[in-house]
């Protein structure tokens, strides 16, 4: 756990210093929001149903970019070899990178979520508590799976293409659950989203455990 915390601190320090990932994520998130809002041209009647898919489509595409960049840091100067040569469990590298990705996603969402409310004229404030729960569960599953696959993709030449190709099909259950849960939370509150939250929680458990167990084999030669 100490190694995971050291890796988290290191990643956050690099991000704080460069602000490369977060600024890219926010810019891409805002651009996606604008594009989707213009494309759908929501009316006051359709805006509430449009908000959940717009939110999650934005998070997935911006998140992919951010998580990929998180592993490129380890590729530069062959830093991954430095980590793998250290007397630490490779699973702690997974835990550290996962935690850093979660912080990055949360920071991006802190900017993008209010903008979704603004662009689509949806009152997200009224459902903020429930929305935070959905975001936390959705983020964990997404980040766990993306962290695992980013470790695979970063070792390949076609990494920019490979990560979405590998990841997006596997994210479908999470996306359906997250969109449904968000819809229920916005319409009726957290209590109404029980089933969808169950899907998210199951996804989180499966892929966090899978990432923890498989990461060693993924990063090693």
């Amino acid at each position: 756990m100490r190694a995971a915390l050291a890796i988290l601190r290191k990643d956050l320090r690099i991000e704080w210093r460069t602000k490369e990932s977060l600024s890219s994520l926010i810019v891409l998130g805002v651009l996606l929001l604008v594009a989707l809002t213009v494309a759908y041209d929501p009316t006051p009647e359709t805006a509430a149903t449009l908000a959940p898919p717009v939110l999650w489509a934005t998070f997935v595409f911006t998140g992919l970019l951010g998580i990929q960049r998180g592993f490129l840091v380890e590729r530069e100067n062959d830093c991954l070899a430095g980590l793998l040569g250290a007397p630490i469990d490779p699973a702690s590298i997974f835990a550290g990178k996962l935690a850093a990705n979660l912080v990055l996603l949360a920071a991006m969402q802190a900017i993008v979520v209010p903008l979704v409310g603004l662009f689509l004229h949806v009152d997200l404030g009224a459902s903020l508590g429930g929305l935070v729960v959905v975001l936390l569960l959705g983020n964990l599953g997404f980040a766990a799976l993306a962290t695992l696959f980013a470790a695979i993709a970063v070792r390949t030449r076609a990494r920019e293409v490979l990560l979405p190709v590998l990841l997006l099909p596997l994210l479908v259950p999470l996306l359906i659950g997250a969109v449904k849960a968000t819809e229920h939370v916005l319409a009726s509150g957290l209590a109404a989203a029980g089933d969808a939250l169950g899907v998210l929680a199951a996804f989180d458990v499966i892929f966090t455990v899978a990432g923890w167990l498989l990461f060693t084999y993924v990063v090693r030669d």
Binding site: R2, A3, A6, K10, R13, I14, R17, T18, V73, E76, N77, D78, C79, A81, G82, L83, L84, G85, A86, P87, I88, D89, R220, D221
Partner: protein
């Protein structure tokens, strides 16, 4: 044995290194030196055969074994957006180095990087990055130090400082395996010289070698005359 995509880069390499030995690995480009060193550092698994480090199957990659190994490859393994001091402090944490701050300061001083310790590694020259990489590998005083062309990028003063350090480590009982193309520099350091050619060991000379004899031998085996 180590293959890449069906091509054997190392074949039938049988090598043991004892404490207090400094083994210099020579060979032409593509001879398999880097692959062998990465296998020794447990960063690559042998496709066939076994590797034991300190009497333990290296494939297990136990923390105790890894803690006793230091490795410098062709790249520094240091984060460009962290400072030199931050990089060493980060690795000192991973290796659980006691009195980490003092150890980091000592090695920064040895590497001649005191003045640049608070600057990001991104602005370091090639030689400074190499010195930082060497400091990183020595941070936890490993019993086995594996160095892939450690003299590359270093100025003469830094090369001499590295010579002195390696000799001191060797005398203190640390085992060192290094690869180089600089035969004249390597010969006085070596307790043993190994020449790798086509993925095989073609020369394994015990004892300190005469630079002239060693250079001739190296030349002969890499040109296929021996």
């Amino acid at each position: 044995m180590r293959r890449f995509g069906g091509v054997a880069v190392l074949a039938g390499v049988d090598l043991s290194v004892e404490a207090g030995e400094l083994v210099v690995l020579l060979g032409a480009n593509g001879a398999g030196k880097t692959t062998l060193l990465r296998v020794l550092a447990t960063l690559l698994r042998p496709s066939e055969g076994t590797l034991e480090l300190f009497g333990v199957d290296a494939g297990l990659r136990t923390a105790e074994t890894l803690r006793r190994v230091g490795y410098v490859g062709h790249e520094s393994a240091c984060y460009p957006d962290l400072t030199g001091a931050e990089n060493l402090t980060f690795y000192a944490g991973l290796y659980d180095v006691p009195n980490a701050a003092a150890r980091v300061a000592e090695l920064l001083s040895w590497a001649g990087l005191d003045g640049a310790a608070r600057r990001p590694v991104r602005v370091y020259s090639r030689g400074m990055q190499q010195r930082l990489a060497l400091a990183r590998a020595m941070l936890h005083a490993p019993d086995l130090l594996i160095l892939d062309e450690p003299f590359s990028g270093l100025d003469p003063a830094a090369q001499t400082a590295l010579d002195d350090r390696l000799l001191a480590l060797r005398t203190a009982g640390h085992a060192i395996v290094l690869s180089t193309h600089d035969v004249a520099r390597a010969a006085p350091l070596a307790t043993r010289t190994v020449v790798l050619h086509g993925g095989r060991i073609v020369w394994n000379g015990a004892g300190a070698a005469d630079p002239v004899v060693l250079a001739r031998t190296y030349d002969d085996v890499t040109r296929g005359r021996a």
